[in-house]
């Protein structure tokens, strides 16, 4: 697994820091952290992607599946995506409208 991921929960919500490569092999790790984050907070989960070099389609599916499962009350924000990661997210239909923030 080429992904390093950390979950932090605080009173404003949860943050997941992603570093490295979110490829198919690292999807289970991401899913586990997303499940923990969504169980711990009910309003906001921030995905910090500043250190993310690669994101696979399976990784994006994991993110959007988790986002859908949270319900409308919980916002999920993607922060700091590199141009390449943002490009992959846009190909997946994810843009600023979907809380892809720069």
């Amino acid at each position: 697994v080429n992904l390093t991921a950390h979950l932090t929960v605080h009173n404003r919500g949860a943050e997941i820091n992603l570093d490295g490569e979110l490829d198919d092999a690292s999807v289970p790790l991401l899913r586990s952290l997303l499940n923990q984050a969504c169980a711990a907070v009910s309003d906001l989960v921030v995905l910090r992607m500043h250190g993310l070099r690669v994101i696979s389609a399976a990784g994006i599916r994991c993110l959007i599946t988790a986002q859908q499962a949270t319900g409308a009350e919980l916002d999920m924000v993607f922060l700091g995506a590199s141009p390449e990661v943002a490009r992959k997210l846009r190909l997946a239909g994810i843009s600023q409208r979907d809380a892809l923030a720069s």
Partner: protein, 605 residues
């Protein structure tokens, strides 16, 4: 029909007039049963009317219309006891004279699709510009939006299909603008291009307040909850392909091919053939345990619905042999696995991966959707025209022959919904109710029209006409526009639950527009021998595989239809192939309007 003491029943009957004396009308119902109805002092009569047409009262001259051979609906109270009698409170006549069917006149279905297109345009965008950010899947009966903010991919694509089809029949560029705008919106908001796998898939929809979107990747519909159902991906293409057929947009073509690649790479079963019904949204596996009862399953929608929803139209637009082979595979699977080996009239609809029937799934169990059987008859007939196979025609003819006995309302006309496949005491019982839904009437009409057009059988044409009469008499909402989702067996609209809506997960502008489009094609070209005008508007960079526009309106019997005339931006154009129905496109800098006229190459059957 009789009444018990102290009760009353009013009912509908569809029949042909055999005689009229002393206020009594001798009818023969469509299944051949004689019946006498009694006119009263308050009996009213009207002629069948189209959407947007005024009420045509004939109450004052019923005797002129009650002549032998006239086809009519009669609705009124039925009395039992020692003096049974059926009164006619309201009569609906199909036409002024026997043998006159207004839905066979050249403008009927075109006028209807224009009314439908105006209804949905007004419902979604009011009188302002086309802006799909305000689109809503759910519409009330009058077209008003509900508080539900969801935009489902498939319902947008179905509306796009309807608008594109309205353009093809009228050349009205406002309808094409809606179709192209909606296609662009789908590409921008609902599309997932998976470069890793080289495929494209489509979100179930988005929850949008106009500023912020929340993506809904897997289905929110209860049958398919948290899965990617094949039919949603199939219907995502319905409008895109119909629009591509008109404008050849290479961007649309890329997405269409990406989605076809999704079907071939992830839904297709290379071992047993056919296409799985659902994928797990994370792994894209049809075998993932998350799918529950949808795990490793195949059904009518996932196997057969490719053809009518997009694949036939994609083949028509491109002539690409690859799509023809995919069509052949789907139809080969249908004729190989769907017919009942024990001779039951209805096909089997759900299967495990190895084609073992699945008779436990959800609401379907071992039950038959009447419309699916009719849809198979319709589409096998289309396919048989381009790739004739004995099994295709045999199953189509068998279904067409058996369905009227088991799936049609033999007294009132119209087609039922869900029936038990296994008969009890010789009867295939209703599962929930005896109501009739709009899309299943469409399947019946197109099945019998295409069979009549391709093979020329009077009984097929009679079924088509009776079905068109029922649909046009009882499904058109003359008060608020559009088409009812469901009517009771007696034709009265059923306005409860989701079935009261004009826009929902199941209804947008596909089936009713497809009916208008193909009923026009079949009636004019194959049944009545009338010319058909169609419009296209290819872009300068149109990608049809070559610089050739293919204008064949459907898979038609060989040599029955020829392309007679072509106009480019209003001027006669002579570089076309009348037999192949192709138009050589000039190099242009702007989209060009291609108006074509097709006609029958021989006497209609």
């Amino acid at each position: 029909v009789t009444t018990g003491e102290g009760t009353s029943v009013s009912d509908l009957v569809l029949g042909y007039v055999e005689g009229f004396h002393d206020g009594r009308v001798q009818l023969r119902t469509v299944d051949g049963t004689p019946l006498t109805i009694q006119l009263t002092g308050t009996t009213t009569g009207q002629l069948l009317r189209n959407l947007g047409a005024p009420y045509q009262d004939v109450s004052g001259r019923l005797w002129d219309l009650l002549v032998p051979g006239q086809l009519l609906f009669s609705y009124g109270p039925c009395y039992g006891g020692d003096h049974p009698r059926v009164d006619a409170a309201q009569l609906v006549f199909v036409g002024e004279r026997p043998g006159e069917y207004p839905f066979e006149t050249s403008g009927w279905w075109v006028d209807q699709i224009v009314e439908l297109a105006r209804f949905y345009r007004r419902a979604q965008f009011g009188t302002g510009p086309v802006d799909f950010s305000g689109y809503r899947t759910e519409l009330r009966i009058g077209g008003e939006k509900t508080e539900r903010l969801v935009q489902e991919t498939d319902t947008i694509s179905r509306m796009v299909y309807g608008m594109a089809s309205a353009y093809m029949l009228t050349g009205d560029e406002d309808f094409l603008a809606v179709a192209e705008n909606g296609s662009a919106y789908l590409r921008e908001h609902m599309r997932f291009v998976d470069q890793d796998a080289g495929v494209t898939y489509w979100y179930h929809g988005i929850d949008s307040d106009g500023y912020r979107e929340r993506k809904l990747f897997s289905s929110e519909f209860s049958d398919d909850y948290r899965a990617i159902p094949a039919y949603e991906q199939i219907y995502a293409l319905v409008g895109l392909v119909q629009t591509y057929r008109i404008n050849g947009d290479p961007a649309l073509k890329a997405d269409i091919d990406g989605t076809v690649a999704l079907f071939e790479r992830f839904f297709h079963d290379p071992r047993f053939g056919g296409y799985f019904s659902h994928l797990d949204p994370e792994t894209l596996s049809p075998h993932h345990e998350s799918l529950g009862p949808n795990r490793s399953r195949k059904n009518w929608n996932s196997v057969g619905d490719h053809a009518p929803a997009y694949l036939i139209n994609l083949y028509l637009a491109t002539g690409n042999e690859r799509y023809l082979r995919m069509l052949e595979h789907t139809f080969d699977m249908v004729v190989s696995h769907f017919p009942d080996p024990d001779g039951l009239p209805f096909v089997r609809e759900r299967f495990h991966h190895d084609w073992t029937p699945d008779t436990e799934w959800g609401w379907q169990r071992d039950r038959a959707v009447v419309g699916h059987n009719l849809k198979i008859a319709w589409n096998l007939t289309r396919m048989n025209a381009v790739l004739p196979k004995f099994q295709y025609r045999q199953l189509a003819e068998r279904l067409a022959k058996t369905m009227p006995e088991v799936g049609r309302d033999r007294r009132r006309g119209g087609w039922y919904d869900l029936l038990d496949r296994q008969p009890v005491d010789g009867v295939h019982r209703f599962v929930w109710h005896d109501r009739k839904s709009w899309w299943q009437q469409e399947q019946a009409i197109l099945a019998y029209l295409v069979l009549a057009g391709h093979h020329g059988d009077d009984s097929h044409l009679r079924h088509a006409r009776e079905s068109m009469f029922f649909y046009n008499a009882y499904f058109l909402d003359h008060d608020q526009g559009g088409v009812y989702f469901t009517v009771l067996a007696n034709g009265l609209p059923f306005l409860m639950g989701n079935e009261r809506l004009k826009g929902s997960h199941a209804m947008s502008m596909y089936h009713k527009a497809e009916l208008c489009y193909l009923a026009t094609v079949y009636s004019r070209l194959l049944v009545n021998g009338e010319p058909l005008d169609l419009w296209f508007r290819p872009k300068p960079d149109a990608d049809f595989g070559d610089r050739v526009l293919r204008v064949s309106p459907d898979l038609l019997p060989r040599d029955r239809v020829r392309l007679d005339q072509v106009w480019l931006d209003g001027r006669a154009w002579h570089d076309f192939d009348p037999v192949r129905h192709t138009v050589a496109l000039p190099d242009t800098r702007e989209p060009v309007t291609v108006h074509v006229r097709l006609s029958t190459a021989e006497e209609p059957r």
